[in-house]
């Protein structure tokens, strides 16, 4: 099991334990974390699962794909720590991952 933490815009923290093989977006949706919408169902096609990855974790994730980079153009307030949660595969290597959620998905 892997623990991931979602920090909502108002500061509320939600720590979730999840099995492997889910995308971070799916973890959020399945656990009713509001602030991640995932309109397209997780195929990198809507940019409504925008998260800010905490400093400590940015290097542990892979690079953004070209499609992810294109789609992030659609999100608001994008920074170098921005990722699309549907493109982050959760596994034990990411145990303790913390992400911040934007004020709202565009």
């Amino acid at each position: 099991m892997t623990r991931v933490t979602f920090v909502q815009h108002d500061g509320a923290r939600h720590q979730i334990e999840t099995g492997d093989g889910y995308s971070l977006m799916e973890v959020a949706i399945n656990n009713n974390i509001s602030g991640i919408d995932g309109d397209c169902g997780g195929v990198c096609a809507c940019a409504t699962c925008h998260v800010y990855v905490d400093e400590a974790w940015t290097s542990k994730l892979g690079e953004r794909t070209a499609m992810e980079t294109d789609m992030l153009e659609l999100a608001a307030d994008v920074t170098e720590r921005s990722r699309l949660a549907c493109q982050i595969k959760v596994d034990t290597a990411l145990d303790g991952l913390t992400v911040h959620l934007p004020e709202s998905q565009h």
Partner: protein, 826 residues
């Protein structure tokens, strides 16, 4: 739709051959009978090629996942307007407005990024209160116990108010937004709100004018959070051209208009057709957001989006060729049962309500989607507070189009009850859009301008003869001849280059009267001039005055509603008067080499033409000229300078250079004659022929238009001119002289019309094209003096021919480069 019609549609769809299915048929959409066709395609031929339709051949993509694959692959499936745009109807890139929905990256990204914050989370939160209060006001006025049209009273009114808010548009004029949106999306045809494309464009120009005014009001104020202010202040948009500005406005007006409108109407229809869902909604208002998404799915307000393949590719086992038109039928994907459970049912509490294609996916996903959802949510929150039920009491009327899937009307009724007393309708009719009839220049005004312009152009057209006569009268050397030519043209140039400073300050009739009088004095003065300085001075005066007449006439003729034809008429008039002048001079002055008589004849003719033109001459502008009408004030300061329009400057420079060459040659054309053994009378005849040809050349250009593009005719004309000067150089008798004069001076109006057309087209901001008269005037003044200087070197006329050939060749090369830049979109 009525049961029998539905049955008929089903039978036809079941029996028709697959290859004959054409889902784009507008009649299917008007009658809402496309559904069985899409069912069949999804089952039997999900990626389906339709060989022929009123929109040409196209591929239909009908299943959810295939549509998703196309929508997210923007590199292969392009939205670019140059390939036809984003609807099944091919847009003409020449007419089309630049909008980021019909662009590919990177340009798409830059433009979308500027607009996106307007409909982003921060702004939405700010707008919620205002949307709610406006919705409340509209809903409170609805009649109770009476039938009314939901589309007109609610859907249109609400979405229009929403748009007005986004733009901070003057509230009392908001009906114009709906009008302009309807005008843009209508296929111009008799009986529609716009009957011709010309009318459609004229209305869009009025829209642009209005928005330019708003831009100019806000650009130097503090930045505000409405779209116009954001565009005027944004670093990457403050230099946008009027066309780009209009394109973005239209995109938001259209994108935010009928889609939301039709979903608002659709929600009432859907709930009525599914009363159990309506009851569920009343019992559980917290389901409103979910119901909104379900309605957007069920309605699919834009039935399709179109892409064009940029290379050969494969989809669903089919081979799609480069340039093929590919239609993503969102309406079909939204009913795909392999992805959506019970897709034809309207279920307001689905598990994943946003699982639909109506907003598209990928980089072009609707930028306003959250705003649309918010509007619909607020409206339903307010409806449920007031009206337990809204009954549909008649059939909806749908438009005949495969693109916008909506309703032109929906009759509804809010029943009265004990708790909801009857309320009569207090409908205010939608204000009628008054259209001022477009300005139509009266024929007599064009005639007047033609006469005055002919007077203005007379001396230039006869310049070769006049200069030759002056040369013999005063014993002038070639460089002195050049000076004489340039003095006249210099006066002309001075007036033309400064026209912006004076043309709108004075009554034109007064200007024409004074300028005519002074030009007669100038011409007569040169007739009697005892010495060179006096000659130069009086010709300079004549030039300035005749130049004034000519410049004012350009302004008048530019207002004509058929400009090509009007300029053709003006040109014909100028040529005619010139021919009369030549005849007069040949008869009375030439044989005797009587310079004085010639100038007096010119003074008389010019004066007579100008005074007769004065009779019907207008006192000032009748319409605002385009460069003023759409002049967008730019915010002062900032780090990004306006982009240099290199292409237009290349054209303007080329115009200047090649016209200098022409003016140089033209000044000496009569003087050249003896070197070909051509006597004065024969030379006059040749000049007359050249004048006739010049009239015909201008008319030909006007008639031909850009049927063969612009670079080809321009190149042919300029190459022929070079051949003409070659004939001068290598020939020695009448034939080459005739050929030379006709091909250089005679033909010149033909390529020049295209040169000016290219510059005008390349200059979207309008600040370079207005310099064209100045370029011609300065080039025209420079030419003769340059020629004189060259000829003074004493090497015969060869240097002059070289100058012309060189200037023409440089000009031609520059215009070819310009043509390439324009074609590649620079």
């Amino acid at each position: 739709m009525p049961h029998e019609a539905a049955m008929r549609a089903h039978n036809r769809a079941a029996t028709i051959a697959l290859e004959d299915i054409d889902v784009s048929d507008p009649e299917l959409w008007r009658t809402d009978s496309h559904w069985p066709y899409f069912e069949r395609l999804r089952a039997e031929d999900p990626v389906h090629f339709c060989r022929d339709s009123q929109f040409g051949p196209y591929w239909s993509v009908t299943k959810f996942n295939d549509i998703m694959a196309v929508d997210t692959n923007h590199a292969v499936f392009s939205s670019d307007i140059g390939l036809g745009g984003i609807t099944i109807l091919d847009d003409d890139p020449k007419d089309a407005l630049p909008m980021f929905i019909a662009m590919d990256p990177p340009k798409h990204d830059h433009q979308r990024k500027v607009v996106a914050p307007i409909v982003g989370p921060g702004n939405l939160a700010k707008m919620e209160g205002l949307i709610r209060s406006r919705a409340a006001a509209i809903l409170d006025e609805l009649p109770v116990g009476e039938t009314f049209d939901w589309v007109e009273r609610v859907s249109i009114e609400l979405t229009t108010q929403m748009l007005a808010t986004l733009f901070d548009f003057p509230f009392e004029d908001r009906h114009k937004l709906t009008y302009w949106s309807d005008v843009v999306t209508t296929l111009a045809a008799p009986g529609e709100i716009v009957e011709t494309v010309e009318e459609q464009n004229a209305i869009l120009m009025e829209c642009l004018e209005y928005f330019v005014r708003l831009w100019n009001e806000r650009v130097n104020e503090e930045p505000a959070s409405d779209l116009i202010s954001m565009l005027a202040h944004g670093e990457s948009t403050r230099h946008m051209t009027p066309k780009e500005y209009l394109g973005n406005i239209i995109l938001l007006i259209v994108g935010g208009n009928d889609t939301t409108r039709n979903t608002m109407t659709g929600s009432v229809l859907a709930l009525n057709q599914n009363p159990d869902q309506y009851q569920k909604l009343r019992d559980h208002p917290e389901l409103i957001p979910s119901m909104v998404s379900e309605t957007i799915r069920w309605q699919t307000p834009l039935a399709h989006m179109r892409r064009t393949a940029t290379c050969d590719t494969e989809l669903g086992g089919k081979k799609i060729a480069k340039d093929d038109k590919v239609i993503m039928w969102y309406v079909s994907g939204n009913r795909d049962e392999t992805v959506i459970d019970r897709p034809n049912d309207y279920i307001i509490d689905r598990e994943r309500p946003r699982q639909h294609l109506s907003f598209g996916f990928g980089i072009h996903r609707c930028v306003g989607n959250r705003l649309a959802e918010m509007q619909l949510r607020i409206v339903w929150e307010e409806i449920l507070k007031r009206y337990p039920t809204i009954e549909v009491v008649g059939e909806p009327v749908r438009p005949a189009t495969p693109f916008v899937k909506g309703y032109q009307s929906l009759p509804v009724r809010i029943p009265a009850s004990a708790s909801l007393p009857a309320r009569p309708s207090r409908a205010k009719a939608r204000p009628q859009i008054e259209r001022r009839p477009p300005y139509r220049q009266p024929a007599k005004v064009l005639a007047a301008a033609t006469l005055v312009s002919a007077a203005g152009a007379l001396l230039f057209n006869l310049m070769p003869t006049i200069l030759a006569l002056a040369a013999s009268r005063f014993g002038l050397s070639d460089d002195q001849v050049g000076a004489v030519g340039s003095s006249y043209l210099g006066g002309f140039a001075l007036v033309a280059t400064t026209s912006n400073l004076w043309i709108d300050r004075f009554n034109w009739r007064l200007v024409v009267a004074i300028a005519s009088l002074l030009s007669v004095i100038g011409l007569a003065g040169s007739a009697f001039a005892p010495s060179m300085p006096t000659l130069l001075a009086s010709l300079g005066l004549a030039g300035a005055c005749l130049g004034t007449l000519y410049t004012v006439c350009i302004a008048v003729v530019s207002e004509n509603h058929k400009p090509d034809r009007a300029f053709g008429v003006k040109l014909t008039g100028e040529v005619t008067l010139a021919i009369v002048g030549l005849l007069a001079i040949s008869t009375f002055a030439l044989a005797q080499a009587d310079f004085r008589m010639a100038m007096l004849l010119l003074a008389g003719l010019s004066g007579a033409a100008a005074i007769s033109g004065l009779v019907a001459f207008p006192a000032g502008r009748a319409v605002v000229p385009p460069e003023k009408r759409f002049a967008m004030t730019r915010r002062a300061g900032g780090s990004v300078r306006a982009p240099r329009n290199v292409t237009a400057w290349i054209g303007l420079s080329a115009l200047f250079i090649s016209f200098s060459g022409l003016a140089a040659l033209w000044a000496f054309v009569f003087q050249l004659a003896p070197t070909f053994g051509v006597d004065a009378n024969a030379a006059e005849n040749v000049l007359t022929a050249a004048l006739v040809v010049s009239g015909a050349a201008g008319l030909t250009a006007a008639l031909l238009g850009d049927k063969f593009g612009r670079v080809k005719p321009l190149a042919i004309g300029m190459l022929l001119a070079i051949c003409g000067v070659a004939a001068f150089h290598w020939g020695g008798d009448f034939g080459p002289y005739l050929a030379g004069v006709v091909l250089t001076g005679g033909l010149w109006n033909f390529p020049m019309a295209y040169q000016m057309g290219m510059i005008a087209t390349s200059d979207e901001r309008g600040n370079i094209a207005v310099l064209m008269p100045a370029a011609l005037a300065v080039g025209g003044a420079l030419g003769p003096v340059l020629a004189g200087a060259l000829l003074a070197g004493g090497h015969g006329y060869a240097p002059l021919y070289g100058l012309f050939a060189g200037a023409t060749a440089i000009g031609l090369a520059a215009f070819i480069v310009m043509g390439r830049r324009l074609a590649s979109g620079a």
